[in-house]
């Protein structure tokens, strides 16, 4: 978890080569309550930073997930189709949503590290 980078939308991205794995933060899953459904993008979709790319639903809320970076969706976490509760149990690891092949590494500049995000979430 320590090398995750975080956005102000409470999403994390973990970079491995030119592919970023993306999910929502533990703080976010707590706020949402029990996740009941995740509407994931199609593999192969091209997205720009800031596009609405997924929706995570709980019983009481629905939140849009915005692409923190631009690129192509190369994988989605099918586990969430049958077990959306994985997001609550392990948001920052096995509860990942999708992977994007980055179009522009420079877009990572605005993101926060774990410590900065922890402070941000408290505020």
């Amino acid at each position: 978890m320590s090398d995750h980078q975080y956005s102000e939308d409470h999403e994390w991205i973990n970079i491995d080569g030119d592919v970023g794995t993306i999910g929502i933060s533990n703080f976010a899953q707590e706020q949402l309550g029990d996740v009941v459904f995740v509407d994931l993008p199609q593999v192969g979709a091209e997205v720009s930073k800031g596009d609405e790319i997924a929706v995570v639903e709980s019983v009481k809320a629905a939140s849009e997930i915005y692409a923190p970076v631009s690129g192509e969706v190369v994988a989605v976490n099918d586990v969430l189709n049958d077990a959306p509760e994985t997001v609550n149990a392990d948001a920052e690891n096995t509860g990942w949503f999708f992977k994007i092949k980055l179009a522009d590494e420079g877009e990572l500049d605005g993101l926060m590290d774990a410590e900065a995000y922890a402070a941000f979430a408290k505020g």
Binding site: V36, F37, D39, E57, S58, V59, K60, A61, A62, E64
Partner: protein, 440 residues
């Protein structure tokens, strides 16, 4: 005033507690210019007896359908509702309950909705249904919007044999959205730009059609088939849209459990396939368990709805047609499998008798060989004038087609007639005789 429990002493005590001397102190924030300083220009309040007289006088100026032989359909149908239904829906716990947002104390309403959703899915031949919409026409426009969401396409094809009210609701609701809507018959070639094709069965003129080939053609290009059924009783005799491959079915449920009421409140039924359930508008009731493990019901999948999703909701609908759904459900519970099929066949046989009797009247041509309980006749004169003349002979003869299609003068002599189980042989004879006189 009989509906206001507070007395003057109560009000004084309450004002003392609040620390004001007049109720008007609580309206301080209202701009003076908008405050009413004298009574509204309306009559003063009346006791029950007076109000009954006034409303009764208005009711007395109308001619109930039951007062003479009547054969009017056109999207609303006069069926007999068993006496138990109206008594049960007036139970306080059903009539005066709110939407079941606190499920622990709303299991009455919720169990009704669960049963209702099941009944609607069964009669339409579909997987899942919602907890009702305003009426068949608005359900139809919601179906079109849902199809555009599911397919992410903009082109919509409406059959011109769809009831004009349904067609117009679709056109009105979509006028500010980026959609292309065609109203045509015969149906054109559809392609990968088509979101859905909307047809009615039986159609507005009463004709029946096998939709299986159409559903296959739609699915081949990834379009959805939406089927509208304004006469819900027909589902007791006619192959269901689900069996014929429909993707969304919308019905007017008024014909079961609910009276004519001059056009409202009615009951929109909406059913679809499991795979589309998250795109479905309207409330949904689902099964669950409570903390003791007992089976119970809750409103669910609320993330689709306006109170959670706000501008991204599948619809803006909040209120549904709950009490009408209850009436429908009770009536259908009384009918059951045998009763619904029997009632539907009785309607069909009555319509056959009517068709044969009318066909024997000179100047009357029954246009279709297949129908459920409604069909169109072509008369040797202007249908609107003929209906007026029939009225003078105490027969309400049907709907002149131009009332529904004023832009089609070629239909000036066409009359759409419906027969239900409430029409007797004497009614049919009276109609045929009166029509014979008028046309001669």
């Amino acid at each position: 005033m009989r509906y206001l429990p507070l007395g003057d002493a109560d009000r004084s005590a309450m004002m003392a507690q609040i620390g004001i001397s007049s109720v008007d102190d609580l309206f301080e924030g209202v701009p003076r210019s908008a405050r009413l300083t004298k009574p509204l220009d309306l009559p003063p309040g009346q006791g029950e007896l007076s109000v009954e007289r006034a409303i009764g006088r208005l009711a007395g100026k109308n001619r109930p359908m039951g007062s003479c032989p009547s054969f009017i359909g056109g999207g609303a149908y006069r069926h007999h509702v068993p006496a138990s239904v109206d008594h049960l829906i007036q139970r306080s716990e059903f009539l005066t309950a709110y939407t079941p947002y606190q499920p622990e104390i709303s299991q009455g309403t919720l169990q009704v909705l669960f049963e209702f959703q099941t009944q609607v899915a069964l009669i339409t031949g579909m997987d899942v249904a919602n907890a009702s919409m305003y009426d068949g026409a608005t359900a139809c426009s919601e179906a079109v919007l849902m199809a555009t969401r599911v397919t992410r396409r903009k082109h919509v094809v409406l059959s011109s044999n769809l009831h004009p009210h349904y067609r117009d609701c679709v056109l009105t609701t979509s006028q500010f959205l980026d959609l292309e809507i065609d109203v045509v018959e015969p149906l054109p070639e559809i392609d990968k730009q088509t979101a859905c094709v909307v047809v009615q069965n039986p159609d507005v003129f009463g004709r029946l059609r096998d939709l299986t080939a159409l559903s296959e053609a739609c699915h081949e290009v990834g379009a959805l088939l939406v089927v509208a059924v304004p006469e819900v009783v027909s589902l007791g005799a006619v192959k269901s849209p689900g069996e014929m491959g429909a993707d969304i079915v919308v019905c007017e449920g008024q014909g079961i459990g609910n009276g004519l009421n001059y056009g409202g409140p009615y009951l929109g039924l909406f059913a679809t396939r499991d795979k589309y359930v998250r795109q479905m508008p309207g409330r949904l009731c689902g099964e669950s368990v409570d903390a003791d493990g007992k089976r119970g019901y809750v409103l669910t999948l609320s993330a689709r709805e306006q109170h959670i999703r706000r501008e991204k909701a599948t619809s803006n609908i909040c209120t549904n047609s709950g009490l009408c759904a209850l009436a429908f459900s009770i009536h259908l519970s009384l009918l059951g499998e045998d009763g619904l099929k029997g009632l539907a066949m009785l309607n069909h046989q009555t319509a056959i008798k009517l068709a044969d009797k009318l066909a024997a009247v000179p100047g009357v041509e029954v246009l279709e060989k297949t129908f459920f309980n409604e069909f169109t006749v072509k008369l040797s004169g202007n249908a609107t004038e003929i209906v007026e003349a029939l009225l003078a002979r105490d027969v309400m003869g049907g709907v002149p087609a131009v009332r529904l299609f004023p832009e089609r003068p070629d239909l000036a002599n066409h009359l759409i007639v419906a027969a239900t189980e409430t029409n007797t042989d004497e009614d049919i004879d009276a109609f045929a005789e009166a029509l014979g006189e008028v046309l001669s």
